[in-house]
């Protein structure tokens, strides 16, 4: 079995270790004896969505997102159809914002793909820290790092998870990210997948089922190191004393 992973605009959106997410998809397929083909799609390249099983849309700076927005206009409808037909998408940070209707910065409005009914507004204070989520999709916490100036309002969409520690979509809502069909949009990097193999396998399984039928299952891997890395952050922010210490440090 083989999956083709399209990495959208790695020349523009390559912040926050996005390569780690790609590497995680690749290795977790290979370790199970499956094949992974990574297709870097550079700005200006034509995209054949029918060849793609997973799309990764990563993070970029505000300026670079503006450039990406131009390229997105030409693929808007195809991308939308891909999502509606159950195509798997992982969108992180800037990529998550671009799935929505618009991202309003202090200077201008960047038009998004309008795949999700969400909007993002820039505020000068960036939301930066470690973050721990509890997601109903998984029985282990999802951990990562958030660093965003945008506040994303998700309307009636289902959030990716409930914030256990950290700030999330708006810093106030108590929720983080969006799940829609086979799309996960999130601010979590770190990168997201290596420390959260449950999320990686969830997306891989969805993509494999879409391509090879509902009988496909993933055999478990030895994830000791993954669980140690995940458990370290989850454990750290379950400790009230540590949180208090960090909070004091942050404001002094």
């Amino acid at each position: 079995m083989k999956l083709t992973i399209g990495h959208l605009y790695p020349d523009l959106l390559n912040l926050y270790g996005d390569r780690g997410n790609i590497q995680c998809f690749r290795k977790r397929l290979e370790w199970r004896g499956m094949e992974a083909e990574i297709l870097p799609i550079l700005s200006g390249d034509a995209i054949d969505f029918s060849k793609l099983d997973i799309i990764l849309l990563g993070g970029g700076s505000d300026r670079e997102q503006e450039l990406v927005c131009e390229y997105l206009k030409s693929i808007k409808q195809d991308f939308k159809d891909y999502v509606e037909q159950g195509g798997v998408v992982l969108a992180v940070c800037g990529g998550y914002q671009l799935l929505g209707k618009y991202y309003k910065t202090d200077k201008k409005v960047i038009e998004g793909l309008s795949i999700l009914d969400i909007t993002t507004e820039w505020e000068s204070e960036r939301l930066i820290r470690n973050i721990v989520l509890n997601s109903p999709l998984f029985d282990t916490p999802v951990v990562g790092f958030e660093n965003h100036g945008g506040r994303t309002y998700i309307g009636s969409h289902t959030p990716f998870g409930k914030v256990f520690y950290g700030l999330g979509n708006t810093g106030k809502s108590g929720y983080e990210g969006v799940v829609y069909k086979n799309v996960i949009g999130t601010y979590l990097h770190g990168p997201l997948l290596p420390k959260n193999p449950q999320v990686c396998d969830y997306l891989l399984e969805r993509a494999l089922k879409r391509k090879y039928g509902q009988d496909v299952t993933l055999e478990p891997l030895k994830d000791k190191l993954e669980h140690l890395a995940n458990g370290y952050i989850a454990g750290r922010y379950s400790d009230k004393k540590y949180i208090l210490k960090e909070t004091i440090k942050r404001y002094t």
């Binding site: 930066i128 790092f145 290596p194 993954e226 140690l228 440090k249």
Partner: protein, 453 residues
């Protein structure tokens, strides 16, 4: 001098004395804070007392080494020079450097000041310091959890230099970000750059900032890359191109681990083991020229210069050669990996990754380093340490490189030096540098004692 400034200096000196007496650390930032509380204009007042010139060094990589070269070059000409301590490059640390250098009459006896300035602090520091020159090493991603994104760093630096429009910039024109910044700022500037390809494939790093033209948005074309986004570039659309540098190093050769190069008519047989130190040397030399400083003893000074700076120290412990390296961002780490690979002998490697505020709490950058090369590094063992040792372990696991982890660095080092290959690399990020340096120095000393017994 204003009474208030005198009082500020006295208070700062008392603070420093107390910190040292009470053994509460090295006391390089608190005295500056106290001085600023007493007199908010203390830095301007002190900076005006510098007899000849003031220069600041900024940028992502190479600040400390470059500033140190400047300091030693000026000292070699018999000048009295003020310098801030390694890492004390925020406003308070810089003020400390000045106030603690004052004599008991609160006078400053200095010909030059060489000040390393943090990118974020630069916006507040430069208007007070009003330096004659500002050297910019390069701009790349570093501590994104502090800076937000590299464009924010760019804008901060630009705001800082435009607030002092007479300050002459010394710019690495191989870095399109630095060059654009200089062109947009309106400040006078001189450039330095290297036109030969001296970085190998491994050190080149796939991670590049902004290879898109900042004026027209088109993708830049490159003849070749040095590393990161540094290289020989031009924009196919608007005509922006890497200029011919005012200062350059050429005929660069690498013999027995050390670099030799030509610069301004001198053939320099340097002690540098890494190509980025050629940049640091070249930029410092260009800056000395811009300052109008004497350079009679430059060659002599640089040929015996210790680029180590505690950041690349070598120890001998139990007969094992132990090298300590600092790697705190992707570009820096990539260079270290290239260095490790140039050493063909078998080796053991310990990598310590912490995530304190000084290190950057976000360790995503580990995934921007091309660790896959370590598979060919003849590494008999790789051990990860530090608060984020499991993240580091994961990074290696996803390149199919196996490793162990430790919570006790000292024991692991000792074991490696006794049962290992006789060749140990210890790579740490910022917060672990001083304690590890101290620990290795101690181990070196105690085993000497042990030998005699």
């Amino acid at each position: 001098m204003r009474l208030r400034s005198v009082l500020a200096i006295k208070c700062a000196k008392c603070t420093s004395y107390l910190i040292k007496k009470l053994n509460r650390g090295s006391g390089v930032t608190l005295p500056g804070y106290v001085a600023r509380l007493v007199d908010p204009h203390i830095l301007s007042a002190m900076a005006e007392m510098v007899k000849e010139k003031t220069i600041v060094t900024m940028g992502t990589n190479g600040k400390t080494t470059t500033n140190s070269i400047l300091y030693h070059a000026l000292k070699a000409e018999g000048k009295k020079v003020i310098i801030n301590r390694t890492g004390a490059n925020m406003l308070n640390g810089i003020i400390s450097a000045f106030v603690l250098a004052a004599d008991k009459n609160c006078r400053l006896n200095a010909d030059y000041a060489c000040i390393e300035v943090d990118e974020i602090a630069s916006v507040r520091v430069l208007p007070q310091l009003k330096p004659d020159c500002a050297l910019l090493t390069n701009i790349s991603r570093d501590q994104l959890d502090r800076f937000g994104e590299v464009d924010i760093t760019f804008n901060k630096l630009k705001a800082a230099v435009t607030s002092v429009p007479k300050t002459k910039l010394i710019i690495n024109c191989d870095d399109v970000l630095s060059y654009t910044l200089a062109s947009e700022s309106g400040n006078p500037f001189v450039t330095y750059g290297i036109s030969e390809q001296i970085f190998d494939d491994i050190s080149r790093s796939e991670i590049r900032e902004s290879i898109f033209c900042r004026s027209c948005g088109k993708k830049l074309e490159y003849d070749f890359f040095h590393y990161g986004q540094l290289g020989i570039y031009h924009c196919p659309s608007c005509g922006l191109e890497r200029p011919e540098p005012d200062f350059t190093a050429s005929e660069i050769t690498w013999n027995d681990g050390l670099y030799t190069f030509s610069m301004d008519g001198m053939l320099i047989q340097s002690t540098s083991r890494t190509p980025y130190n050629i940049y640091n040397t070249l930029s410092a030399y260009a800056a000395l020229n811009a300052l109008g400083a004497e350079r009679t003893h430059f060659q002599e000074m640089i040929e015996s210069f210790d680029y180590g700076n505690n950041r690349e120290s070598i120890f001998t412990i139990n007969g094992t050669r132990v090298q300590l390296h600092l790697a705190k961002n992707p570009i820096g780490f990539q260079q270290k990996i290239s260095l490790v690979l140039k050493d063909k002998k078998p080796k053991d490697i310990i990598i310590q990754i912490n995530d304190t505020y000084q290190d950057g709490e976000d360790i995503s950058w580990l995934w921007d380093v091309d660790f896959q090369y370590l598979a060919d590094a003849e590494a008999a063992s790789i051990i990860t340490a530090g608060t984020r040792r499991h993240d580091m372990g994961l990074r290696l696991k996803y390149e199919d490189i196996s490793c162990d982890s430790t919570t006790d660095l000292r024991t692991s080092v000792t074991r490696c030096t006794k049962d290992g290959t006789g060749n140990l690399y210890v790579i740490v990020n910022y917060s672990g540098l001083y304690s590890t340096n101290h620990m290795l120095a101690e181990l070196e000393k105690t085993q000497e004692g042990g030998d005699m017994a």
